[in-house]
């Protein structure tokens, strides 16, 4: 996990945008992070933060109207995505970038596997669970049908499905949610990939089942040394399972640090507010301290720091200066980064700047209502008494 060695996956300044009729949605806007061998890296944020788009971009699985428009993704020294300037000055895909064929044959499944949130939608309801797993193994590992079948039964047993020979011939609807998620984990592990992207894998599950799955992942990770990118919104799961964490807000990574520092030496006001707003299972909290307002649309992000309209520490300078995700501290040799100008690493005059008056934000009261323009007469008055933002 040391930062000197070459990381398994390196993402630099990745940008993914969706070109919609209403405008360009900058779902992922210049994020950089890396994943080392044997590490579980968290990607945390509320819905709409861009965490799922970011993780799908890593596999080049972004669908139209979405497109990766910039940045570089390197996996084990190979370029998954990279751009360069062509002879005509236009950006074009680099020569050494893996072709779609190579992505399909070598990377997806074999090197990088995915576990999705909804296990029912990821399994085909008209084929048996075992059949689907067998086919996957057969295709990716060049085994005969019979060998693949044995391997599939073995994998089912490995992930804790009782009586795997019997259940091999059952259909997905005969499995419970937790069991289906186990099947998906079996499928992800079947080709012994080096990296697994887990996109909210436990969100749809009950707590006791969630606990079982997290324990299972812990065990398997120890056994196979697989690295994980764990996408979630649940800070409890993050604390439980991650080694390092990236906190995303509106398409950007606002804080990046080892898990302990994230909770005990929080550097970004958004992370802090997020931690303050959750009810705790282990102690009784008198009054919750919610974050004001809602996350604005990625189609028209606020100027300067994107969190400033909701930030308790916002000052005038925050409206103007867009903070990069800079190193602000070091924790046991691992950099702790935060995108907040209040830290000394940023020399933009935060201390002298005037605190922002608590102005109700325009984006709060009609987040779903993009067609209502700012000139909407209702909107003018809306600001003064506010929607979500008025608390």
């Amino acid at each position: 996990m040391s930062s000197e060695s070459e990381p398994l996956l390196r993402v630099e300044n990745l940008k993914t945008q969706f070109f919609t009729e209403a405008g360009t949605v900058r779902a992922v806007d210049g994020i950089s992070f890396d994943v080392h061998e044997g590490e579980i890296v968290g990607l945390v944020g509320e819905s709409g933060a861009g965490k799922s788009v970011a993780s799908m971009s890593l596999l080049r699985l972004v669908e139209s109207p979405g497109e990766i428009v910039g940045g570089e993704i390197t996996y084990k020294g190979e370029t998954i995505f990279g751009l360069e300037e062509g002879p005509d000055g236009e950006l074009q895909e680099r020569e050494d970038m893996l072709s779609n064929q190579e992505m399909r044959d070598r990377i997806r499944g074999n090197e990088i596997a995915v576990i999705f949130q909804d296990p029912m939608e990821s399994l085909n309801p008209v084929f048996t669970v075992g059949g689907q797993l067998r086919e996957f193994i057969e295709l990716n590992r060049d085994l005969s049908s019979e060998q693949a079948r044995q391997e599939a039964v073995e994998m089912l047993r490995e992930v804790g499905i009782p009586d795997p020979e019997q259940r091999y011939d059952e259909y997905p609807h005969q499995f419970s949610g937790g069991m289906r998620q186990r099947v998906l984990i079996a499928m992800a592990l079947a080709c012994e990939p080096s990296l697994i992207i887990a996109d909210e894998p436990t969100t749809a599950l009950d707590v006791t089942v969630e606990g079982q799955i997290i324990d299972l992942v812990d065990d398997l990770q120890e056994k196979y040394g697989t690295s994980f990118i764990w996408v979630t919104h649940d800070m409890g799961v993050v604390a439980e399972i991650c080694d390092r964490v990236n906190v995303m807000y509106l398409g950007e990574i606002v804080e990046q640090s080892p898990v302990d520092e994230l909770f005990y030496d929080t550097k970004h006001p958004y992370t802090e507010a997020l931690l303050d707003s959750i009810p705790r299972p282990d102690k009784t909290v008198g009054e919750l301290d919610p974050i004001e307002g809602v996350m604005p649309e990625a189609i028209s992000p606020p100027s300067g720091c994107r969190f400033h309209p909701r930030c308790p520490d916002a000052r005038e300078v925050c409206q103007r200066v867009h903070p990069e995700n800079k190193q602000v501290d070091t924790a046991e040799g691992v950099p702790h980064r935060a995108a907040c100008v209040k830290h000394d690493a940023f020399d933009v005059g935060y201390d002298e700047s005037v605190p922002l008056a608590k102005s109700p934000q325009v984006t709060a009261d009609s987040s779903a209502n993009t067609e209502t323009s700012v000139t909407d007469p209702e909107r003018g008055t809306a600001g003064s008494s506010g929607g979500e933002g008025s608390e």
């Binding site: 819905s47 399972i241 929607g387």
Partner: protein
């Protein structure tokens, strides 16, 4: 407070005299229940569902029995004999995993579902006995908030109309009064009254849930059933809505039944908490007591398995094994016993704790078939450290091991016992017989399987009684 003023001005002639005061907001009139007294009492409530429907439903065919065709419905026992009370002004949290019957219970209390048996006393009147117009009238006092803020609002109605609809249904106020009250309520729940003419799609999830709140409050209910009201919302929005709900409760003197699967949310909002498992309430206590001093193994397991947002809190979690049994044919006695890590040893044998511990683990491993067939000696080593329990239990375990051992020979059947004759020669491992043998000899004889537990114990935190349905407290 202005809400009350508005409704004050208009008297509704269609309502009976005793109900006049209900219109006036949080203040309640003479016959009413004081703060802290039982507002709602659920007594022996049951809700069974028929498993299938249609002409031939309930007809089953079994060629081995006589007559081969039998008629009889299997019932899904979603809620089975539940008793509790909810006091005026409190929030009772109802928590459990999916499928435990918590939503069904909520809906049955509201009579959205017909109870199979039992009574629901609301202000002393049994809702289960009411029907037709009487029930409809009662509904103005009991309201509900649903989980999905999207589908619980009609997309073609403006939110003003949505909020006024219950008032119209109950003949409250005139048009103007309703509009004034709707706007008042919008403000109360933290929305802009000017949004009166907007459609639901123009609002975010958190705001829609606020519209739901306003609609529920429009008819001035005393009691609101909230079915997972914040679980579809992002954490930061969740906190906002929870805070609003608490403020409204205080202002209008509301009583909540708060159904959720998220223990953190339950801990935050509840005064008392009931834990449900497979149609039964297994534990009910004051919040602090329940979370700090849980007395039912299921509650303990539930609390243990929540990921705590604190990386330094890394206790080994006692993860619950297995899955929830089917509610069609739930286990006898304590319903949690098939997964309970503290299943009580049957009394007829002499056990040391360790012997019982090993035997229980082995019994469950056989039942769930979690291990590969292996030689008898290996099984003994794996589950019992080589030492089988002494006496009768040891013999039974021995027989079970022989049934599942991969090296079992035809001769084993004879040494094993009387009735094994027909198995002799069967080369396959006989999981089913081993399971039956172990369950019949041990699990079924435990007190947990024979009596339904219900104990009241003293609280360590607070003064309320602590109900725990677990024989460990016998």
């Amino acid at each position: 407070m202005e809400v009350r003023a508005v409704s004050d001005t208009v008297q509704d002639p269609s309502r009976g005299q005793s109900e006049d005061d209900d219109l006036l907001g949080s203040e309640m009139s003479g016959e009413e229940i004081a703060h802290g007294d039982a507002l709602l009492e659920v007594d022996g409530l049951k809700k069974y569902f028929d498993q299938d429907s249609g002409l031939l439903s309930g007809v089953s065919f079994d060629p081995d029995s006589f007559p081969p065709v039998s008629v009889g419905q299997d019932h899904v026992k979603a809620v089975d004999d539940v008793n509790f009370e909810i006091r005026r002004g409190e929030t009772l949290g109802l928590v459990g995993e999916s499928g435990c019957g918590k939503s069904t219970l909520g809906r049955t209390i509201l009579r959205l579902l017909e109870p199979t048996d039992g009574s629901i006393y609301f202000k002393g009147e049994d809702l289960a006995d009411l029907s037709g117009e009487q029930l409809r009238q009662k509904r103005s006092e009991i309201q509900m908030i649903f989980q999905d803020p999207q589908s619980s609002l009609d997309p073609r109605m403006k939110i003003g109309q949505i909020i006024e609809e219950p008032m119209r249904a109950h003949g409250m106020l005139d048009d103007e009064g309703r509009e004034a009250r709707a706007k008042e309520l919008l403000e109360k729940v933290g929305l802009d009254p000017h949004h009166y003419n907007r459609h639901p799609h123009a609002f975010s999830g958190g705001q829609r849930q606020r519209v739901n709140l306003a609609r529920a409050l429009s008819v001035n209910p005393d009691f609101v059933v909230c079915d997972e009201p914040v679980s579809a919302l992002d954490v930061s929005i969740q906190a906002q809505v929870l805070n609003t709900m608490e403020e409204l409760q205080e202002e209008f003197g509301l009583t909540y039944l708060f159904i959720a699967h998220d223990l953190s949310v339950i801990r935050h909002i509840s005064d008392r908490v009931a834990v449900m498992y497979l149609g039964n309430v297994v534990e009910l206590a004051e919040k602090e007591e329940l979370f700090e001093n849980p007395q039912h193994p299921y509650t303990e397991a539930l609390l243990d398995s929540i990921p705590v947002p604190d990386p330094r809190e890394s206790d080994a979690r006692g993860v619950l094994e297995g899955e929830v049994p089917s509610p069609v044919n739930p286990p006898s006695g304590c319903r949690f016993r098939t997964r309970c890590p503290r299943l009580i040893a049957p009394d007829e044998y002499e056990w040391t704790d360790e012997e019982w511990y090993h035997t229980r683990a082995f019994m469950r491993a056989v039942k769930r078939r979690t291990f590969e067939p292996m030689a008898a000696a290996e099984i003994e080593a794996e589950f019992f450290g080589g030492d089988l329990p002494r006496g009768d239990p040891g013999e039974i375990v021995q027989r079970a091991i022989e049934l599942v051992a991969s090296d079992r020979s035809a001769g084993d059947g004879e040494s094993g016992g009387e009735s094994d004759a027909e198995v002799i020669g069967d080369p396959n491992v006989d999981w089913e017989r081993a399971t039956d043998l172990l369950l019949e000899s041990f699990a079924e004889r435990s007190i947990c399987a024979q009596e339904r537990p219900a104990y009241e114990i003293e609280s360590e935190h607070g003064t309320e009684t602590h109900f725990a349905a677990c024989h460990l407290h016998r």
